[in-house]
Amino acid sequence: MIKAILIFNNHGKPRLIRFYQYFSEDMQQQIIRETFHLVSKRDDNVCNFLEGSDYKLIYRHYATLYFVFCVDSSESELGILDLIQVFVETLDKCFENVCELDLIFHMDKVHYILQEVVMGGMVLETNMNEIVAQVEVQNRMEKSEGGLSAAPARAVSAVKNMNLPEIPRNINIGDINIKVPSLSPF
């Protein structure tokens, strides 16, 4: 399970903090400080893993930002390392050349994107196109909401009840062929 996701810049300023396990406010800040302290003094040519007593820190450093995932022993180190890459690439797609400023000014949007990748500490989706599709659906909703603020109630409710479009990959379900053989009867 992923216990926490921390993004901070080269100076240790937090840019996005998401804990999946409860820590008190002070503890959270302390964790951020200590993590920054640990990670920032490491060169770029050393390994991306740090180990604690019952958790692992897996991090990547991009230009001005550190992306740190704190996970327990049930996660694969290299798997998480690539998940960070997927997350960052997704951010890049959503923000068109993402930079630190995007993360600062659209903290809420970054959170929404993250929610589509990791849910409650579990990896939900690793397919970038899928994540982008989900986020776009929500963005479309946002735009129409914003423009419709003055529209008649009927129109608003029509938008509200708009369903998510069919996700394209569902179409080829017939070919997927994941046959789970004779499980015991339900």
Partner: protein, 1124 residues
Amino acid sequence: MSDVVEKTLTALPSLLSLDSQPGSAKLSSNSKLGNLIRGITELTSKHEEEKLIQRELLLIKEQVSSPNTTMRQMKELMVRAIYCEMLGYGVSFSYIHAIKLAQQGNVLEKRVGYLAVSLFLNESHELLLLLVNTVLKDLQSTNLIEVCMALTVVSQMFPKDMIPAILPLVEEKLNHPKEIIRRKAVLALYKFYLIAPNQVQHIHNKFRKALCDKDPGVMSASLHIYLQLIQENPEGYKDLAPSFVTILKQVVGGKLPMDFNYHSVPAPWLQIHLLRILSFLGKNDQSTSEIMYEILDESLRRAEMNHNITYAILYECVKCIYTIHPKSDLLEKAAKCIGNFVLSPKINLKYLGLKALTYVVQQDPKLALQHQMTIIECLDHPDLIIKRETLELLFRITNDQNVTVIVEKMLDFLRISEDDHTTIDLVGKVAELAEKYAPDNEWFIDTMNTVFSLGGDLLQPDIPNSFLKLLSEGFDSVEEDKKLRLFAVNSYISLLQRDASKLPQRFLQVICWVLGEYSHLREDLEPDVIVRLLAKLLDMKSSSSETKCWVLMAMTKLCPGGAALALVHNVSETYSSSLDTMLRQRAQELEILSQDSELQAKVLPRSASMEPVEVDSSLSFLDGFVSEALAAGAAPYKPPHQRQEELSRSKALNLEPYGLSLPISMSSCSITDRQSPTLLSISSGLSGDSTDFSHKGSSTVLKLDGVKRLWGRDGYLAQKEPTEEAPRIEAASPVRSADQLGNNNSQTPTPTPTPECDQEKQQLASSLFVGLASQSSICLMGKSDQPSQRFRRKTKASGSSEQITNPLVFPSDGSDNLLYKNLLDSPDLDGSPPEQTPGLDAPNGACDAEEESTDADMKEIKTPPIRDEHVTAEASPHHDPDRSKDPSLTSHLPAELSALPHSKTTTLFSKQNLDVSACHVQKEDSVVLVVFISNCSDSFLQQIRLQVDSEELEVSCVSDSPSEELKSHSVAVCQYFLTVKRPSVHFDLSATVSWQPPAGSPLTTQFSYRLPLTAFIRALRLSTEEYGAKWLAFSHDTKQNLTLIQGGRDPLAATLDVLKRKLQLHVVEVIGVEAIVACCLQQDQPCLMHCRMHAGMLAVWLRSPVPDLPDCLLYCCQRALQEL
């Protein structure tokens, strides 16, 4: 009017910011959040930032609580609040508004509301209850986005008690037509499982359905659940193994749609998950492992080394291969794979390679040999993490030959390490290695000194404790003990003579204790000198009051005459007015005992530190006091669980589910409760000897969770992994010497820098890896325990003393063993191997003579010649091979046991032509476990070794070991005396049997055997008067209502009859509706029972001097009555 204008103006920026396009950060910078952020970035000091944010927070607070704020503004305010929160400023005032926003806003506002709630609150926050209704509503919404949001927030946090309220709705979502909803629902249910497993018990079937979902996304989400479930209980999901294998096969085979590919690897995360699940399922299970060999092979093959993520899959594959039941060609491939990792120039892969090596090196030490040069290079790696991992690896391969080099490397690392966790961990490891492999006293004490000074006060308390315990208990030779202690004393005196102010407190305490206890060994030294040295510690500013206590205790033990008496007097005077009560007490003790040397000698006898102090944990010395108090009208003591029970009974509604009323945990709770007063009394008593330490050790909580304990007091703690028992891939290799190792180096393809440097490294390599190869060959000989351990503890349990004597019986050296084996093979000695006892052979003979009476068996024991006849008869051709599987194994029971009642013989395992069965025989005063090892193959089995252990039972071997070898179709019988250490409802015995088939490598299997408490219960014949006297004297009691056996005329008599028959209780007397019953556990541990019929129930009251016994016996009674 102006009001309206103002509102419009404040709303304006937020309106503008709404239109912000993705990627247009600059555009929204004129929003309020933008202003705030810009404000913060312009600041230079933390203090200014704080001021600015406090101002901002005030503003937000004002606005959120204003009734005129619209939801839209609220949304903007929330984002600002989230930002402030992230920076570490409390925004608790906005929590309720976040909930309101989630409740009342439109979809977009709701989204911000939910986000804020999930960032601000936690599972146990009381405000979260207000969200339940909103979640409930949104789960039923027709808008999918709302449903998604609700599921997301639920999986982030949800009040445990409220799960039943939304569970049906979430469950329903598993059938939702949209896959994203199904997927999120699965994860939400997983979260429920994590926080309240019993609440989702009924939907396990639905998890299965999710696993077979037509959408692979849902299936992969359900793997989260299965990974957890299978980790907790692999046995329950064995039936799914073929399904997981098939799924993996399809994934690896590219049957998934292209968009599951990541860098052209099909669904790598899914593969990782599946491999983990498979390794849990295949662990210790040959048949399940066999299903997966093919797909593991394929995975290894398909994962071409081209991208990071394929390495992730490979790593999981390798781990899986080494975890499941071994298969040699897979192991070979995996080993090659590990080699690729270790040799990789990519640092992450090197790290994982080292980790993998560490994982497998126990089973395959040769793998470490192959990569020794890489390991040496990693030791000097600039990255501390790599270095640390290398040390971990070295720790696993330490033996008595390379211990000094490895410990030196570890201590070097400790000197530069700044990380507390690493320090604690490594210090513990060094201490373990030192204790286990120390080549001599000097080195041991020096190393421990370094450990204490480097570990400082971070040190886990068990390290000094076990060190002192080792010193005080000593080991086998008195002379050695004395030398070690003397060396310690000398080393500490010289340490104290230098500057002691830098030494950590823990170390000082150790020094104090050792000097107090053993400085008398230095006959040339006056105690005065020591006392002066100790007094110096008292004056040091850095000394904690705990250390001072230790100093005073040491002084008390030294009890000097002459010059230092004045000093002692001075000290005790100073501290007898101390504010610290402990210190004051020690000072008083010192004062009194230093004046009365006779009393001192009595209280602190010098030689007594060797003997453990007997502790009466039942507090029987208080019985008089208790009965007096009872007579004076005090209420009888009730154990906590009973009190709780009565409390819950008095409550109107019992919300707990009904179960068997006495889970074992309850009784253990009462035991600790009862022991605690004794613990207190010990530590406050004036004794600084070993028991004091051991109790202190047990009372302070050792934080060992998470730290994997691999080495115990008696050596490597065998992990329960199949790989342990793995047949070695290669046949016995000749013992390689250190020089040959050097030659081996040339095979490693590591780039060699310069010749001199290389030579140095080679030297290091040979000193580090010395003994590894020979160690492996020892393993091959089926010799699992290390031959020699310097500081082997004296063990009190006779069960483990058998282990120690083993090396005496069997030559400890591998090569000797070979010789020995050959000797045994020679036909002359066949009939009577030296260590075989008649008791063992007789049943062997009886194998063919089942119809013979026990008398005949008796004769066999007395007359060896007859036995020989039987041995030859055994080899006769018309022996039926199936015979040995005959249920009448009991005919092999030794004669003296065959007349006694015994349990049914159960087959414990049967594999590789070896069957092991066991039964227990109830003797008058004890229980004997009889294990039958039968060889049903046509060949010899050699080096059969059986070891039985139990936590609750003391196991002592009757016949000291089973025969070393077993002829075809014969049965060896081993007997073990069992005595109860502490009562329990069931006693689990774990046993390990190892043997060597004629062709092939040694095998080891573990199995367990369970005995009920009733096997140890005997009737206790008492008169009513005796019963009455005992009843008052016993302190542990328990009360409970049992169901009566209805139907007969006299339910009481019928019930008692059942108890008498099933539990061998003795009915002392029956008076009307009351009865008194007695029994005992192994003769000397009585338990009395008082029964009374009351309102259609049988109210029983059990008493015993033994803690836990009443509880356990009550449970047995309950079972006995239920099973009717």
